[in-house]
Symmetry: C2
Subunit: 127 residues, 2 copies
């Protein structure tokens, strides 16, 4: 039985912001796109181990709706789709950087990302 989504609480800007990039895969997708600039769907999925299509597609949809990513469809043979960050999307990267820096100070046990696909977090400390 389908149940319509309940009216969301009115949220302050802070909570709005956390909604945008606070999801389980969202920050990771933003990081990857920030580093690689433009990626096809299948390549993007390859960069994120263990994510399934259902989840990746749903997450990209949200990011698209929130204006974080840009989606370009190529109706060639074979067809493909490319994703990249919008300006809005790019503007969150410094915030993710600062979170990563902060966490690096306190999260001693695992300062280096141990997930290969998460080496993209290195983006935050590079340069």
């Amino acid at each position: 039985m389908y149940k319509p989504k309940l009216e969301k609480d009115i949220r302050c800007p802070l909570e709005y912001g956390l909604e945008i990039f606070g999801g389980k895969w969202k920050s990771r997708i933003i990081c990857v796109l920030a580093e690689k600039k433009t990626l096809r769907y299948s390549v993007l999925r390859g960069e994120m181990s263990n994510i399934t299509d259902a989840v990746l597609a749903a997450t990209l949809k949200e990011l698209l709706a929130d204006g974080i990513v840009f989606r370009q469809q190529f109706n060639e043979i074979p067809p493909h789709v490319e994703y990249s960050l919008t300006d809005k999307g790019k503007s969150v990267v410094p915030i993710l950087q600062s979170i990563c820096q902060w966490a690096g100070i306190y999260h001693h046990e695992n300062t280096e990302c141990s997930l290969p696909q998460c080496q993209k977090c290195d983006y935050h400390s590079k340069k």
Copy 2:
């Protein structure tokens, strides 16, 4: 029936950070404590409309475990408990500030917090 928590994924610093203050009430609690410095449990609850004891207590426990808040118990008559931010907790406030600023730019529909208890978000723009 009690079910043990599954082993958490290994997370990069960024995701660790989002875990700390990304929960539904966490940022709000941090904001309130950042402004009021020290609050009794009951007063803190009063500052957050609609939160229930079960949720507030659980959230405070997490923040305590993560070293964000400090808990001082007074075994007087009547007994009470006071919560305040640790140094680690205080150090996340600038990050919340930057998120709030960023969101203010893009979240035009609701730039001003419309929840009274969330006027604490003004903390981020004050001064």
